[in-house]
Amino acid sequence: MTCESLINRFLDAYLHRELSPARRAEFRLHLALCRDCRRYLASYRRTVALARASAIEPAPLDPPPDELVQAILKMTRDAPPELR
């Protein structure tokens, strides 16, 4: 297994525990021998964690603009009779 195949082909499956036992062993052997891939894996894992953490809203949500709420309600009130 090369660094390229580890990073491009097998890394995602490794993190999702989708590699066969033989491929997983090969992956772990490469990691044990390759400092660059260990570093890449650590930074990749952290990237995924940061992306997920960034979903948290920085502040409580503001109430929606009242004009928007009114526009939505008006639009449905004005909808053709068969939709009312």
Partner: protein, 194 residues
């Protein structure tokens, strides 16, 4: 199911009967969160509000046929996301970086070119870190950004993301992996040691 979601599902019979008060309750209870979702996809307040109006009209039309399998908030969220994606497809005007420039490069022997130092130890993400991550997500090419938004931010599973985007689950997985690789490249200058 959270209390708010349960309350909304209890509205369903009234909504199917086109009770205007029930629809107003639904709009008031869900607009703030759905608008936040639309803003994340569209980056423009007016476009986000337009997409939301369009989505609510679609939802209003479709309510009598809504089976209730997914829960009302999930169903509405999917309609809003699809309305945003439609708008993005209509207006592909944003200049984009190619994903290839953001993917790791390899020498012919399979080693990574210029691997660089390790990242600084993880001491928890600060609000500044998270703001930086949001900006980096916004810099991803659109197809890749949409997958990150759906999977990591809006928390859809692979099947739901594939359905929403109209692609196969394997395409979602491949795009998400590449998007994470690209995001790592964009974050590297900020988090690397030295």
């Amino acid at each position: 199911m959270p209390d708010d979601a349960r309350k909304l599902d209890l509205l369903l019979d009234r909504l199917r009967a086109r009770d205007p008060a029930a629809f107003e309750e639904l709009v008031r209870a869900t607009t703030a969160r759905l608008l936040a979702t639309a803003r994340r996809f569209l980056h423009d307040e007016q476009l986000a509000q337009d997409a939301l109006q369009e989505a609510f009209l679609q939802a209003y039309k479709a309510l009598p046929q809504f089976q209730g399998r997914s829960g009302l908030p999930t169903w509405l969220h999917a309609i809003v996301v699809r309305a945003c994606l439609m708008r993005l497809r209509r207006d592909r005007s944003r200049p984009e970086t190619s994903i290839d420039e953001l993917l790791p490069a390899f020498a012919r022997d399979g080693h990574r070119k210029s691997p660089g130092p390790a990242w600084k130890p993880d001491q928890g993400a600060t609000p500044e870190d998270l703001a930086l991550v949001r900006k980096a997500i916004d810099r991803l090419p659109e197809d890749f950004r949409n997958v990150v938004l759906l999977r990591d931010i809006e928390e859809l599973d692979t099947r739901q993301a594939a359905e929403t985007l109209g692609v196969s689950e394997s395409v979602v997985k491949t795009r998400l992996h590449r998007a994470h690789q690209a995001l790592r490249t964009l974050l590297d200058p900020h988090f690397r040691n030295g």
